[in-house]
Amino acid sequence: MNELPLLSALVAVPLIGAVVVASIRRENADAARWTALAVSGLVAVIAVLVAVGFDYSAGAPWLQFTESYAWVDTWDLNLSWGVDGIALLMLLLTAGLTPIAMLAAWRDLDSVKRSVPAFFALILALEAAMIATFLASNILLFYFFFEAMLVPMYFLIGSYGTGPKKQYAAVKFFLYSLLGGLFMLVAVIGLWVHNGGVFDWQTLVEAEPMADGTLQNWLFLGFFIAFAIKAPFFPFHTWLPDAGGAAPAAVAALLVGVMDKIGTFAILRYCLPLFPEATQTFAPWIIGMSVIGVVYAAFVAIGQTDLKRLVAYTSIAHFGFIGLGIFAFTQASATGAVLYMFNHGLATGLLFIVVGFLTIRRGSAQIADYGGAAKTLPLLAGIFLFAGLASLSLPGTAPFISEFLVLFGAFTGNEPVAVVATLGIILAAAYVIWMYQRTMQGDRNPALDKVPAMQRDLTLREKALVAPLVIAILGFGFFPQPLINAVEPAVDNTLLFISGSPEDLPAAEGVTNE
């Protein structure tokens, strides 16, 4: 159905772009900026082409736009790409958020002596690696990019971050993720040995299911721990506040908005179809962790004194909702969880970006350094509040739809758990509204009047980059059905493994149709 290798292009274009931008001389900062923006814009265009050509009907093949090129035959490592509805949403989120993040960080490096081309090249490399994890249909290929993305992110935090703990945060992020990756690596190899040398995902899901038992449990845990650290779920989360607090805000938007979703995406893509019995065995524990995460992280967020760390903790609470949605195994909750991944990227992406506007102006992320700031920054304050309201899932914004579906779906399966998680929405209101009050309302902090940047409301560039996010958040808040239509078939396919009837899967494209 597709002549052009669009998925390969989605990985190759930003990768090549990264190399090109990295080779631009340091003095030509603007050339680097515009080149990087153009490349990420091209990626976004290709992503839209994929979305336009995608077959949204229920009986369509699970993976579409499939491509495969041999790489290392003896390991069954192929450059195999394919996209389902879930990956499509993640792809659109990545491709959309990256240029916005670039624009948000456009002038952030003006005051520090750091290489601008390297910064933008790293973002492009990060984009390529993240897109590759969503599109890979070969487990080893996935693993390769799952680990590779740590490198650009490590340098983005360690070299371009802010605050005295940026080195600590970068190392912690790197080592923690690497540790998770090692668990996964062992499980990947174990899986490979068990199934006689197959890494191709499509082949594995169509093969005879793995026997229930100890081996499946261990392999599941190997994958799950890696993904739970990446997501991150409570109690594997403590790297995120440090990383999110230290990273430049635009990078934090990509870190929390997109990269963390790879964890939950991979749980849906790998854990459920490959280890269905083990998934069900551990589900009660994971749901317990998720609900603790929802309440606990919200309380920790309320107690934060640093804006970026606060937003990072709100995300950990949100990831609890996603975990709950996935492991409640209902159509509504799992669909809601995928929508949650997408909508959270929009809302928290926006929130981090606005926090970035603030902290760059003020030169501090400490909440105590603000107070009454709305007086001179009415528009920025308005967008800040809007992002906060989206983050607390106010009806009319997209996150409400996903939270409703997750909670309702969980409620039909497990009422007490859903009731406790629903209480989380009160805490969400508390951290958002209190954060807004302490920074924007009330008595004006006299120190703000001495900071010239705090008298300048949003610039044209800043308005232009938040506008698409605001429109998307409102648009999908009232018209979520297109998103649901995109992900529901893939979610249904995934849940077939849990209900034990994978034979009902639609035929794979080009494999069994011959």
């Binding site: 360690g158 509504a332 106010l394 009806p395 409620f411 929405i425 018209f479 649901i484």
Partner: protein
């Protein structure tokens, strides 16, 4: 019970969406246009709500001519996942029709008034944007054709209310009051969400027709759960016990906000929700009893605190709490009293809006002071405000022929008609509430307009401009006439919703109740007049504990602090400590154990980190390679 079905909307009724779109577009334009709209923005805000009122009138007329008296407008499918279907549809029926008229009609008058009231505020345009946003959300609330749509409006008005309470956000008290309103409502909203989950779980739908037609098949436990959860939501939005504390604090907002949102419309949303869900509430006697208890308790609670307050807006706020208690009592009694609750709501919408706008006019005259101990003798300088306020005062205490007489007395009568001892208790509470209302409202009225002047030196009171007094006069006329006009016509109009009203006979006859109520009202008002005609102390005197307790909102604030605020703060700081020392401590401890010393991780040099990370990466690569070799062989 007959099957409930709604006819598809036709003709002007299919424009129901425009009713919401008009103020919504107004809000969007005013917010996006920014300072450019400062000159004309307020007129746009007035025009959109005026247009909506005209449309609502046309739709009202069109509905009256219909057989089925309902119009269902399907807009689009909002959510469809598996078996779950949530439509975006609007329902225009007799109940939503009267609410639309109240919201747009009284709303229009208050918008006009606000043009004058906010004339000197540099943010007037933003004020009208939020005001329009509120109207749009409130219309979604009452026009929503299913619980999901109602919930969107429900949260929308919560947002608008938050924005408007903290409109003067540089004032810490305003910001805190806005936050309190938002959070309290959020707590109650959990009830709404869980009620919807329970409905979908039991009946597979949140559609009004589907839920009501299936309600008879619900188990007692399920209908009890849905009823109590909806009641919790209603109590939050309507400032009923135990969620009453946010409403008086909401008076930090500009006075037109208090009039429109925190008196006439939004706070009655809880009454709307219960009336709309009357099928569910009528199913379960325990739920009805719960509503009655909440209503009776709150109407006394509000009246008692109202006696102890010295701030003109706070007295009115507590009177709102108390009056909505009457409405809750009515819709809890069920049967014919559903319609009584609604007419009291409509009458209250007029007279309370008039009273609040009157208080705003007084504040304008008195340099924004609100302390009634420093008012007095104002009747001479502001005749329009005085006369219209008097109409509101007589309406709320319920003297013939003012509106409260026609709408409150029947509720008291029906309360006495409740079976057995409950009738005496509930009826007695309602009667006592009437006496207290007469007392504190007379105190408010006399201290403000009569008696000696107790003004501070810097005030020079004057009557407000026509743009403020004309709405006052219209609302004053409403306070005078609305009750008599609505007493029988509106219950008849609502018959298609609530069914044929049937006369209830109980402990006391209508005549007995009317006489008893009139006597206690005259006594209460007379006592208030006697005690306060000579003015009052300008600073509060040391008082006995019941008065101190009433001044402290009957302990509501203390309960809030002790039960929610402090434990939440404690939980937050405890969680932060646990996260830093235990959860993260374990991670750092582990890495320290692996890395030899935690210093390496904490105070690393860049170059060192890179080599460290690379060594791990290369270690991983070697591990993979080794495993591969083993496996391939």
């Amino acid at each position: 019970m007959d099957e409930i079905s709604y006819a598809p909307a036709e003709g002007v009724l299919s424009l129901a969406w425009l009713l919401i779109a008009l103020p919504a577009i107004g809000a969007a334009v005013l917010l996006l246009a920014g300072r450019r709209a400062d000159k004309w923005g307020h007129w746009l805000g007035v025009a959109t709500i005026g247009g909506a009122f005209a449309l609502a009138l046309a739709m009202f007329g069109s509905l009256a001519g219909l057989e089925n008296k309902s119009a269902d407008l399907h807009l689009f499918t909002m959510i469809s996942v598996g078996d779950l279907n949530v439509e975006a549809n609007l329902l225009f029926d007799p109940l939503s029709a009267v609410f639309c008229l109240l919201i747009t009609g009284v709303g229009f008058l208050i918008h006009v008034y606000a043009v004058g009231y906010m004339a000197h505020d540099p943010e007037r345009r933003k004020f009208f944007a939020y005001f329009n946003l509120f109207a749009a959300a409130m219309l979604v609330l009452v026009l929503g054709g299913n619980y999901f749509m109602t919930f969107i409006g429900w949260e929308g008005v919560g947002l608008a209310s938050y924005l408007l309470i903290s409109f003067w956000q540089a004032k810490p008290a305003a910001a805190t009051a806005g936050k309190k309103a938002f959070l309290t409502n959020r707590v109650a909203d959990v009830g709404f969400l869980l009620a919807m989950f329970t409905m979908i779980g039991a009946l597979g739908t949140v559609d009004f027709a589907g839920v009501f037609n299936g309600a008879a098949s619900l188990s007692t436990g399920t209908s009890l759960a849905i009823g109590l959860l909806l009641l919790a939501a209603a109590c939050g939005k309507s400032g009923q016990f135990p969620f009453q504390t946010w409403l008086p604090d909401a008076m930090e907002g500009p006075t037109p906000v208090s009039a429109l949102i925190h008196a006439a419309t939004m706070v009655t949303a809880g009454v709307y929700l219960i009336a709309r869900s009357h099928v569910i509430f009528s199913l379960n006697a325990d739920v009805q009893t719960a509503v009655v208890i909440v209503g009776a308790l709150t109407l006394l609670f509000g009246a008692i605190v109202g006696c102890a307050k010295d701030d003109i807006k706070r007295v009115l706020a507590w009177s709102t709490v108390s009056q909505i208690g009457y409405m809750f009592l009515a819709v809890g009694l069920g049967g014919g009293a559903f319609a009584l609750g609604i007419i009291h709501l409509l009458a209250h919408g007029f007279f309370k809006a008039g009273l609040f706008l009157g208080s705003g006019s007084v504040m304008h005259a008195m340099n924004d002071q609100t302390d009634i101990r420093r008012f007095g003798g104002l009747w001479r300088v502001m005749p329009f405000t005085y006369a219209t306020f008097a109409a509101g005062w007589l309406a709320i205490i319920g003297l013939f022929p003012f509106s409260g007489f026609f709408t409150k007395d029947p509720i008291i009568h029906d309360a006495f008609a409740r079976e057995g001892w409950q009738g005496w208790v509930v009826g007695g509470a309602a009667l006592l509430g009437a006496a207290l209302t007469a007392f504190y409202m007379t105190r408010l009225f006399v201290l403000t307009f009569h008696g000696p002047k107790r003004w501070t030196d810097d005030v020079h009171p004057h009557e407000s401009p026509a743009i403020m007094t004309v709405p006052l006069v219209l609302l004053g006329l409403g306070s005078l006439a609305a009750g008599g006009l609505m007493a029988t016509s509106v219950p008849e109009w609502l018959t298609p919703v609530f069914g044929e009203p049937h006369e209830v006979h109980g402990h006391l006859s209508h005549m007995q109740v009317t006489v008893a109520t009139t006597v206690v009202v005259v006594l209460g008002a007379g006592l208030g007049w006697l005690l306060f005609r000579g003015g009052t102390d300008e600073v509060p005197r040391a008082a006995a504990w019941p008065v101190r307790f009433a001044r402290a909102d009957l302990g509501g604030e203390a309960v809030n602090r002790g039960l929610f605020e402090r434990p939440s703060r404690l939980a937050a700081s405890a969680s932060v400590a646990v996260d830093g020392r235990v959860v993260d401590g374990a991670v750092n401890g582990l890495s320290a154990a692996i890395g030899g010393t935690s210093r390496r991780l904490l105070v690393v040099q860049t170059g060192f980190v890179r080599s460290y990370a690379l060594s791990i990466l290369s270690g991983a690569v070697i591990l993979v390679a080794a495993l591969m070799v083993v496996v391939v062989q």
